[in-house]
């Protein structure tokens, strides 16, 4: 699941929680899902490093061909 979808689901959960008409079992389940989603979101944000690729061309199907780019200091 991508970051946006996770965040959207997390917001849905918060809205349900705020309504407050849930059974104990259900709200516990939602809270646990929410905690899991937010952990995954954080991971996605922190894990991703900025990788700069240099475009060298396109293959026959039009897919970009790249190579890792390291800026010279």
């Amino acid at each position: 699941m991508d970051f946006e979808k996770r965040l959207t689901r997390l917001e849905e959960i918060v809205q349900k929680m705020e309504k407050g008409d849930l059974a104990l079992e259900e709200s516990l389940k939602l809270f646990e899902e929410g905690v899991r989603l937010s952990r995954e979101c954080h991971q996605q944000l922190s894990e991703a490093e900025v990788k700069v690729k240099k475009l060298v061309g396109f293959d026959a199907d039009g897919n970009p061909q790249t190579q890792t780019f390291e800026a010279e200091d």
Partner: protein
């Protein structure tokens, strides 16, 4: 005429002519004369620099420019062929003071001469500045700089193309900024020349190449600082029009903060420097992280509210459950009172009968037979009364027991006092041993937390052991 034409040269030609035919003056054909003139002029004036005012300017459909150069005293016809005028950064207009470099050429057919211009530069304001102002005015009039044309940046760009030189300062600065932020943005560098004559068409091509990248959110086009000539490619008209036509929003990042190029005006967003462009892209990602943190706080708050609400409902239920004890006491008291009253009633009844008996005894000389019968009646009444009282009591007692039994069974109070727990497995409340297997992970939820546990074994049986 230029003083560099040596008179001796002309006379030597005449001498040569005279020497060839001394007897008669040399007669030249018109064609021959023009040919000689041409040879003379073109031979003697290989390259000249002339300053003058442009007049009668005409851009022919063939692409050639025709004009005259004049000053207050004189004028000369001039032509600038397509191959040369294509390199002009500005368009000559009548009245414009220019310096030209060119060759004087003779058109033999008509016996006319003109200057063939190879290079032209406006006098006064620099040529580049002039060209810049002209293009800026033109594109502005076309509406290419309108704020309404500017597209907003996508809020969370995930794929950014950078059109710049792979060896320049710009890409290095941007990579530095982006690495520092450590955020999830894919960057594709589309290499392009950013300086020199070939740079503008190169940038146009690179921009169009970037459009072919899949899922592209934004393009940054730019280069590091330099002189106005260094940045010139970003004032190119074709590049400006290509930026305006981009299907993906374009951020321009050319030179330093003080440098404004045509690309800056036509781009959706102008970043003062390449580093600033990188910051613009990752700032949005930082906003995402902030939103995430806010949502987390709301989640925890929502959960705490839920818990508080459950606690409230639970303690409400508990306080209701205390009542039956008091009700039991009430019932016992009432029971005692009733039995007392019953006893009193029975005694009063007996007393009445006794008085009756005494009265009868007094009034009727007490025949033993009557007395015996009365006594028997009293006995019957007494035992009936006792039995009735006992039955009443028994019924009350039985009902009380039933109520108490029921309440006891329903009341979580005692269970709570021993340690109330919800057992969960796979998100389900465990209500039977059939829901779990040995080795299965379960969670035991208590009021103040939860215990992760693993099922060791499952045994069927009643709760007798407790």
């Amino acid at each position: 005429m230029d003083s560099s034409i040596p008179a001796s040269n002309s006379s030597s030609v005449l001498e040569a002519v005279s020497a060839a035919n001394l007897s008669a003056p040399a007669v030249l054909t018109v064609e021959g004369l023009n040919k000689r003139i041409r040879q003379l002029i073109e031979g003697e004036l290989p390259l000249v620099w002339v300053q003058g005012e442009v007049s009668n300017f005409k851009a022919h459909t063939s692409g050639h420019y025709y004009l005259s150069l004049k000053d207050s005293k004189s004028q000369i016809r001039a032509v600038m062929f397509r191959g040369h005028n294509a390199r002009l950064k500005f368009r000559p207009t009548d009245g414009m003071e220019v310096i030209v470099r060119g060759r004087v050429t003779v058109y033999e057919v008509r016996g006319e001469y003109q200057i063939t211009i190879e290079m032209m530069e406006p006098v006064g304001a620099g040529a580049l500045q002039k060209a810049y102002e002209q293009l800026k005015t033109k594109l502005k009039q076309e509406g290419l700089f309108e704020a309404s044309r500017k597209r907003p940046l996508p809020p969370h760009p995930r794929h950014v193309a950078i059109v710049t030189s792979p060896t320049g300062a710009a890409i290095r600065d941007m990579v530095n900024v982006l690495s520092r932020r450590n955020r999830s943005v894919a960057i594709t560098l589309v290499p392009a020349l950013v300086q020199g004559e070939a740079a503008a068409p190169h940038l146009v091509q690179a921009l169009k190449t970037a459009w072919r990248l899949p899922n592209l959110d934004v393009i940054i086009i730019g280069r590091g600082g330099g002189s106005i000539e260094d940045l010139w490619a970003f004032n190119d008209e074709t590049l400006a029009r290509t930026i305006a036509a981009s299907p993906v929003p374009v951020i321009s990042a050319v030179g330093h903060e003080v440098d404004f190029t045509i690309a800056d005006f036509v781009a959706d967003l102008r970043a003062p420097t390449p580093s600033a462009a990188a910051e613009l892209v990752v700032r949005s990602t930082e906003e995402v992280a902030q939103k995430l943190r806010l949502t987390e706080r709301l989640l925890v708050r929502g959960w705490q509210q839920q818990l508080a609400s459950f606690r409230h409902r639970f303690s409400g239920a508990l306080s209701n459950l205390v009542d039956p004890r008091r009700r039991l006491q009430d019932l016992i008291l009432r029971n005692d009172e009733l039995s007392l009253r019953l006893q009193q009633a029975a005694e009063r009844h007996l007393q009445n009968r006794r008085l009756q008996v005494q009265g009868l005894r007094r009034g009727l000389r007490s025949p033993n037979e009557i007395l015996r019968r009365r006594r028997a009646l009293v006995n019957v009444a007494m035992s009936s009364l006792h039995a009735q009282a006992q039955r009443h009591l028994d019924r009350r007692q039985a009902r009380l027991q039933r109520v108490l039994g029921l309440l006891d069974g329903l009341s979580p109070l005692k269970v709570v006092e021993r340690g109330y727990a919800l057992t969960m497995s796979n998100g389900q409340l465990v209500k039977s041993i059939r829901q779990v297997q040995p080795k299965q992970q379960i969670e035991v939820h208590l009021l103040d937390g939860r215990i992760q546990a693993e099922v060791i074994s499952v045994k069927e049986g009643k709760l007798d052991g407790l």
